[in-house]
Structures are given as C-alpha cells and as structure tokens.
C-alpha cells in the first residue's frame, strides 16, 4: 500500500479541475491506497459552507466532499496557519477535518510515496 497525498491549494469551484482532481483521489481509494487529502493556502476556502455554484450553472463540488467517507477517505487535513490567515474556524466548514500545523503536515508529507497537486 502506498501513501498518496492530494493537495488542494486553490478554490475548487468555477471549473472542472477540482472535480477531476478529486476523481483521482476517489480512484486511488478504490485501489486501496492510503489517501490523504490536504487543504492549504487559498484551498481552505474550498471547504466553507454556502457555496452555490448552481446559480452559474456550474457543478457543485461540495457533494463530493460530503461523500468522501463513503469512499473510505477519512484523512482530510487542513493547515492551521492557512485557516488562521483566512480567518476561518472549523465550524464554518462543510465537512469535519483534522487541523494540523504546517510543520506536522510537512513531516507526514515527507514520508509520502507520491504527491498530487493541480
């Protein structure tokens, strides 16, 4: 089993990239790999409540986030520093996450087999 990190450091709405990126993570989980989703930088905004891309006829990514446990993806990390920087607290997020310091995240990341980003 390999450890695969999927790093989201930009918004997931507005285009198909976020959706196609998460598809990779779901497929990795289906292959029984250790999948870690990491939200950092501007990417923490992808987790906030009340995202309504439907008004623009864009597909909403939030249902996919809500379905992560169904796909056995339970390691969802957010970087504490990024949350603070963007003035966000966990209660404002759509899903439950594991907040960790940049340093602690980097220690895990260094041990990953592969890192995906977009």
């Amino acid at each position: 089993m390999k450890t695969l990190f999927f790093i989201i450091n930009k918004s997931l709405q507005g285009n198909v990239c976020g959706q196609e990126f998460l598809d990779m993570a779901l497929m990795a989980a289906a292959f029984d790999q250790k999948v870690v989703l990491l939200f950092e930088g501007e990417g923490v905004n992808a987790l906030v409540k009340n995202q309504c891309p439907d008004g623009l006829q864009l597909k909403n990514i939030v249902p996919v986030l809500n379905a992560l446990p169904i796909y056995d993806i339970n390691d969802v990390l957010v970087e504490e520093e990024s949350m603070t920087m963007w003035g966000l607290v966990e209660e404002e997020l759509e899903i439950s996450v594991h907040a960790l310091s940049r340093r602690a995240i980097k220690d895990q990341l260094n041990l990953a087999d592969h890192v995906f980003s977009f």
Binding site: K10, S11, N45, V48, K49, N50, W86
Partner: protein, 96 residues
C-alpha cells in the same frame, strides 16, 4: 478605464501598479477572493483613492463568500451591472 481582473495575487497586483484616478476595477472568477479582508495584509487592504472596486456577486456566491467577510469599500454587481460597467467605461482591459 475598466480593468476586468480574474485572478487575485500577481495579476491583481500588476493591475494596481498601473491604475490611476477614475479607473474602475471589476473582480471576477477566482479574483473575488481578493475582496475578502483576509489574509492581512492583502493586495487590497490599502484602499486606492479615486479607484472604484467592484466584485461580481454570482462569483462570490458560487464560492460561498459572504460580503460580511469583505472590505467595506467593495461594491457589488451582478452580470447586468457588469454590462453597465462596460457601457460606462472605456477602454476595457482584461487582466488574466
């Protein structure tokens, strides 16, 4: 002159380098994150006098950005207002 800016960060920063009095900036797509009053200091934390800054509301809503989280000097438009800004200003420069 109207600047239509679709990215925060360097693209917006370059735009701010060249604006002058009576210019108008419209933030669209992922640039609407620049309207948020975090992180501090951010690209827009210092208001430029004489320059009006608008953000496209449908793009804000798509991303779940509440106006309560934004700088109070930002103004908001929907697509109809976007068209009005284009009508009221010339030339128009797209910053991508």
């Amino acid at each position: 002159m109207l600047y239509i800016v679709n990215k925060k960060g360097d693209v917006l920063r370059n735009c701010l380098d060249t604006v002058s009095t009576d210019d108008v900036i419209l933030l669209i797509e992922s640039a609407v994150y620049a309207a948020v009053n975090k992180p501090q200091p951010s690209v827009l934390s210092e208001r430029i006098s004489g320059v009006a800054i608008y953000a496209l509301l449908p793009d804000m809503r798509a991303r779940g950005i509440d106006v309560a989280r934004c700088y109070e000097y930002i103004q908001y438009v929907d697509y109809a207002g976007f068209v009005d800004l284009v009508e009221q200003n010339n030339p128009v420069r797209s910053c991508c």
